[in-house]
Symmetry: C2
Subunit: 360 residues, 2 copies
Amino acid sequence: MYERFWQQVGDKATVVIPGWQSISYFSDIGNLCWFLEPEFAKQLLRLHKIVGNAVTEDRHIVVGTGSTQLFQAVLYALARPGVEEPISVVSAAPYYSSYPAITESLKSGLYKWEGDALSFSKEGQFIELVTSPNNPDGYVRDSVVNKSGGVLVHDFAYYWPQYTPITSPADYDIMLFTLSKTTGHAGMRIGWALVKDREIAKRMVKYIELNSIGVSKDSQLRAAKVFKVVSDSCESSRDTTESLFEFAYHLMVERWQNLRAAVKRSGMFSLPEFSPGLCKFTGRFFEPQPAFAWLKCEEPIEDCESFLRSNKILTRSGTHFGVGPQYVRISLLDRDDNIDLFVERLSNIRKDNLYQHMGE
Amino acid sequence: MYERFWQQVGDKATVVIPGWQSISYFSDIGNLCWFLEPEFAKQLLRLHKIVGNAVTEDRHIVVGTGSTQLFQAVLYALARPGVEEPISVVSAAPYYSSYPAITESLKSGLYKWEGDALSFSKEGQFIELVTSPNNPDGYVRDSVVNKSGGVLVHDFAYYWPQYTPITSPADYDIMLFTLSKTTGHAGMRIGWALVKDREIAKRMVKYIELNSIGVSKDSQLRAAKVFKVVSDSCESSRDTTESLFEFAYHLMVERWQNLRAAVKRSGMFSLPEFSPGLCKFTGRFFEPQPAFAWLKCEEPIEDCESFLRSNKILTRSGTHFGVGPQYVRISLLDRDDNIDLFVERLSNIRKDNLYQHMGE
């Protein structure tokens, strides 16, 4: 989806790296995060200030190979190796499917996935992951576990003005962001964390040191460049399509309109409904238009993923996200053609087709 | 050390990446390693062919965020989650200090560090890490565990003709390589594995998917470019300083000569002695000249690291590598000035200084 924007931007966003540049492991020896490129740090602080989506004062920046690596760095940083019991990791369902997959992948003795935060009642220390707007369903979220001993980790991958109104700068202890959902550059594998506590930031850096001895400098330099272009465009022309956020906002408006129309036409599905809010960045009053469609198949369909697959629509079942198979998640950030095709196919699924389908 | 070479190469090694390029997560959907850039794969195969240091036929290529991430991918791929006991991980001492640090870092139930392969006698499955030439001591190595149930992982980070004679193409099941020790570009965080077994390669890819959803495309593109320059220079002028390997070889000759002279002058240290071998790549008969100096302090010095620190030389103690504190490891890939300073300081340490030092 973002490809077209960057094509239109042209040379301004091109990065040129000579063979002799950034050879060393180190980027900024004096910095707690010694592999953080100073120009990248500068540009991300500038962008947060312009958009107003996060408080950056008195925070340590930790760069990661995507926010995926940073999530693991957080688990490592918050675990207490001396303690017998692993720390519990929870998130309210539906939650991002990678959280359980990653947390459980190495059978770590440091941390343990305990599932839905809403039904969590175990004693002891815990980490609650709060994704807001949420992946997969797009709702703005707050923490839900109502007991002490918890540390909150906020995943703000989607807290950008193309997806949701920016109501106030997020101000939490550990906040994760990712380039892929900001500018579209998923292939760079760049994420960053804003961390209040120095010791936690240090342990996150230690994890990234152990896991990959730092983060690609080339991608950090390129990320700095695209951030610069985005910030420049916001400052010069906030309301034209020259701004990345405006470009993406309008595309998301259109996609959600088409999607909601298709769902209505079909009559067999439902989508989350959102309340509008005032976006302080744009001054616009609008409803969230998430990066994912969280689609529910209405009765009598029980397995939405396989039903849609039989209609040539590939989705991810709700079972991966801690809920039932009547839900699926569908990305809305694909190229125009693919989105159009998906919406068209969806709108052509009708009750009478269904009965044919079930009779087959 | 490599910076000067790349400065001399100039624009040929410059990479230019427009803003709209390589945005997606995917590089090569049809490939088992779906995040592998085809041009990077092509250039690394070409380089291996020219240098003759590895058999690449019938191998799957897995790219990683440095070989550090690939090492963890191997542990994940070889572990058997269904089995109660974690798989043992061993390496002959002195071994690369990151092996135990990484293996133990998450208290994984999948694998467990069991230390020196020479004294390993535990029952059950095991992984033996064979680094050749070895980090830290530079010796060419073979596996040492003499029992069944083991899988060998060969770390060939230093099997390049500037460090050691290329006697034959390495031909093992799992072989790891890293850009940082090949061309010097540590900041790119690029490594690659050549893997015979398809299932193992698939599980390694799965790990990298979980750990970082792929590997920076920008760095892969840049790595492809520097490999191309290196291969081109080898083909056109193998014996001039235009070739990276010739440049680095001569620098290593000089550094080892100066280092051995300093050690001799001081009389208080010793270095490993190597047998010369015929390098099939250059046709040259020479002794290994490793990337690290593995220095032993002679008696009465017991703690070589702190003794050298008091002489303003920063090193890493043998204790990190599974042996005693009379050893230290020192990198020989630093910039010229730092190496000169280190050698000068080392040569000025004399027995009489020592007695002063001990009397303080």
